[in-house]
């Protein structure tokens, strides 16, 4: 442990990552040891592909030490492949679902890819997410199973949890395709305060040239990203998700009327608090330009039951990447735990929370000791 950068805390790491993502030139001017550490932190935060893309756009990756330059090239190749796999899965889906007469909407990474959003560049999608109407999801699932998709192995508890409490069915997979297919009937789990109606989301979905499926409207894509991060997650090591929000805001804010529709929609969906968090944290970390009037209007509407300063401190702590040499800080683990508890309490009555936590803990303790993976 041989350099000053070793002492960086999670928040400093997050700030440094944000700085090199914003101005990639700064990375190549750093000493090699610091470059190496920050690229490892970027990998830990699932941001190395994005960083590699930005270094390449800025035409500065040739100034990196050779092994780091090679890792950038490797990540870009992998990202290109994943993009190709996503497009392939979309193509297969369009054939498989051609005779199911119901709208299918692409969500998240797959939607960013078909729209060729800047946020998709260098991103490493691991699944394809689609949204269908709840009353048609059984038919969609049956059709996919008949046409070669398979359910991933899962214990009975998790199966039941998905069916009863989740906004998606258990993940599917097509043959050797490395990506999972998540079929949703809503963009957030049922039961909580945020209730974006799937029918409205699907109703305002937009077609994309060249894509067999439509995508959510710009404001709904933004709300989906903020809800997922601040309503339905523990924020643990989720800098990448925050960067997605930054990318969506920067791209879509160029469209006339975007901010008005965004704030109006957030109010209608009970998503004002998540949006307020999204705007605050992405502005803090990535300096996302947000009009003052929008920030003020959203933050007045989006009050949570936790004091804002306390909630923000938890988010900031949980969201930071783990230190490459030390793993996640204890404070980050604790903060993520509290945020996880919050996410559960937002949705479930206490009895369900207790049962769920107990089942998961038991499962973790009883997990087999030996790895299932083969030793090469």
């Amino acid at each position: 442990m041989n350099s000053g950068v070793q002492e960086l805390g999670g928040r400093e790491l997050a700030a440094k990552l944000a700085a090199i993502l914003a101005v990639p030139e700064t990375l190549v001017r750093m000493p090699a040891a610091e470059c190496d550490l920050l690229m490892r932190a970027a990998r830990n935060a699932k941001l190395l592909g994005t960083l590699a893309h930005r270094l390449s756009e800025a035409r500065v990756e040739s100034a990196l030490p050779q092994v780091l330059r090679e890792q950038c090239a490797s990540e870009l190749a992998l990202s290109r492949h994943r993009r190709q796999m996503v497009l392939w899965e979309i193509d297969r889906l369009s054939r498989a679902l051609s005779d199911v007469d119901t709208p299918v909407v692409l969500l998240k990474g797959a939607a960013y890819i078909v729209q060729t959003l800047p946020a998709a560049a260098g991103r490493m999608p691991s699944d394809v997410d689609i949204l269908v109407r709840r009353d048609r999801i059984a038919e969609v699932e049956r059709t996919l199973l008949r046409k070669g998709w398979q359910t991933t192995p899962m214990n009975a508890y998790d199966q039941r949890y998905y069916r009863q409490w989740s906004h998606e069915i258990p993940p599917l997979r097509y043959g050797p395709c490395p990506l999972e297919l998540d079929v949703h009937h809503a963009i957030v789990p049922p039961g909580g305060r945020a209730r974006p109606a799937a029918s409205e989301l699907i109703g305002s979905a937009l077609t994309v040239p060249g894509s067999p499926f439509p995508v959510l409207s710009p404001e709904d894509q933004t709300l989906h990203a903020t809800l997922q991060l601040f309503y339905d997650s523990d924020c643990s090591n989720r800098l990448r998700d925050l960067l997605d929000i930054d990318g969506l805001l920067r791209t879509f804010s160029a469209r006339p009327g975007y901010w008005e529709r965004l704030t109006q929609r957030a109010g209608a969906f009970g998503a004002a608090h998540s949006l307020a968090c999204g705007l605050r944290h992405t502005a803090r970390v990535f300096g996302t330009p947000i009009p003052d009037s929008v920030a003020a209007a959203v933050s007045a509407r989006g009050r949570g039951w936790l004091p804002q300063s306390a909630f923000d401190a938890l988010v900031e702590s949980a969201m930071a990447p783990a230190h490459p040499d030390g793993g996640a800080a204890r404070t980050a683990v604790a903060a993520a735990g509290l945020l996880r508890a919050r996410a559960l309490c937002l949705r479930f009555p206490p009895s369900v929370v207790i049962r769920h936590v107990a089942a998961r803990t038991l499962h973790a303790v009883l997990k087999p000791v030996r790895p299932d993976t083969e030793v090469a």
């Binding site: 050779q66 492949h81 190709q84 230190h323 040499d325 000791v369 299932d372 030793v375």
Partner: protein, 343 residues
């Protein structure tokens, strides 16, 4: 520059606990940390001729093997493979430290090398010409690769055939200790009594595993490639004799591409690279019972290919002087024990 074996266990343990132990494999450079002393002892043996270089601060992989904390530690001592702040695998029993490190490093290297086509094959070279030994279950690839190295061939890798798709004629070394399994450990020990074999690790997922330290000359030439010339699909068969059959190029293509680590990831680039390899290589299937027979056959294949008479495309500067490397390696009998059975 001092070598790991010369520094000794105590110094290596201190490096593993302190600033990390750097290792240069050629196509990848790694840095290892550990607080588990038995790993230092084993590494001092199987990495004995790797130089300890100073002043490098960028690596393909920085990984640690750490003693695990947690409740289950009370029942059984465990270790974890930690990379960039994550522990991607379940803990291993503490006594299988070197297999965990080797497997974890291979996993990381394979996942971080999509700038290269990574064939799954042993690679050895002689006179600047490389022989690929693709890995299939039961092929005896590692045993054969080890025997070739111990009888004077230059080992490039026992696991990865590394190609730059822009220049697919050249195989690049990714030189790691050769992992032997089960019976092959005794076979190699009997045939090459001087071989530097590290401790045996019983009861791993693949049975007993032991590692051979690569010869010094191979380590010192781990940045020099070799030109692809021969693809041999070995097949160990305890019942038969020696059988050699040419393999049609189309079939060789499918077999090479089919078990590459990242053929799909590289797409068309991988297609053209594998085609270039198959185009310029003679391809054989080699069914063997006795290791001696297989070695003699592979020597024979390459002897039948006179390097000067074959209009090989120039493999750039990287392949030049490989015959010197081989000559110097053959001269250094301490590093590469000569095979009594072959010579």
């Amino acid at each position: 520059m001092s070598r790991i074996g010369e520094l000794g266990e105590a110094a290596i343990a201190a490096r593993l606990e302190g600033t990390g132990l750097p290792l240069d494999f050629g196509a990848a450079r790694v840095r290892v940390f550990s607080d588990h002393l038995p790993l230092a002892v084993a590494m001092t043996q199987v990495y004995r001729d790797y130089p300890v270089f100073e002043g490098e601060s960028a690596f393909t992989v920085t990984a640690a093997v750490r003693r695990a904390s947690g409740v289950r530690r009370l029942l059984r001592a465990q270790i974890r493979f930690v990379v960039d702040g994550d522990a991607p695998f379940e803990p291993f029993p503490a006594e299988t430290h070197l297999p965990l490190l080797e497997w974890g490093l291979n996993w990381c290297i394979a996942n971080r090398s999509h700038h290269r086509l990574m064939l799954h094959a042993g690679v050895v070279a002689r006179d600047g010409l490389a022989v690929l030994l693709p890995a299939y279950p039961g092929s005896g690839k590692s045993t054969l690769t080890a025997a070739l190295m111990l009888s004077g061939w230059r080992l490039l890798s026992d696991e990865f055939g590394v190609l730059n798709p822009a220049e697919p004629a050249v195989l690049h070394p990714l030189l790691r200790p050769v992992a032997l399994k089960n019976e092959s450990i005794d076979v190699i020990r009997a045939m090459y009594p001087g071989a530097a074999i590290g401790p045996a690790f019983p009861r791993t997922r693949k049975g007993t595993v032991a590692h051979i330290a690569p010869a010094r000359a191979c380590i010192d030439s781990c940045h020099r490639g070799a030109t692809a010339r021969l693809v041999v699909f070995p097949k160990y068969d305890s019942s038969g004799g020696l059988e050699i059959e040419p393999v049609a190029k189309a079939r060789a293509f499918v077999k090479l591409a089919g078990n590459a680590f990242n053929y799909e990831t590289l797409g068309p680039q991988a297609f053209h690279a594998v085609r270039a390899v198959v185009d310029r290589c003679d391809c054989y299937q080699l069914r063997y019972r006795r290791l001696d027979d297989a070695l003699a056959a592979i020597n024979g294949f390459l002897r039948g290919i006179a390097p000067a008479s074959q209009p090989l495309q120039p493999a750039r500067a990287q392949a030049d002087g490989d015959s010197t490397a081989y000559a110097s390696q053959a001269g250094s009998s301490a590093a590469a024990p000569a095979s009594p059975t072959l010579q």
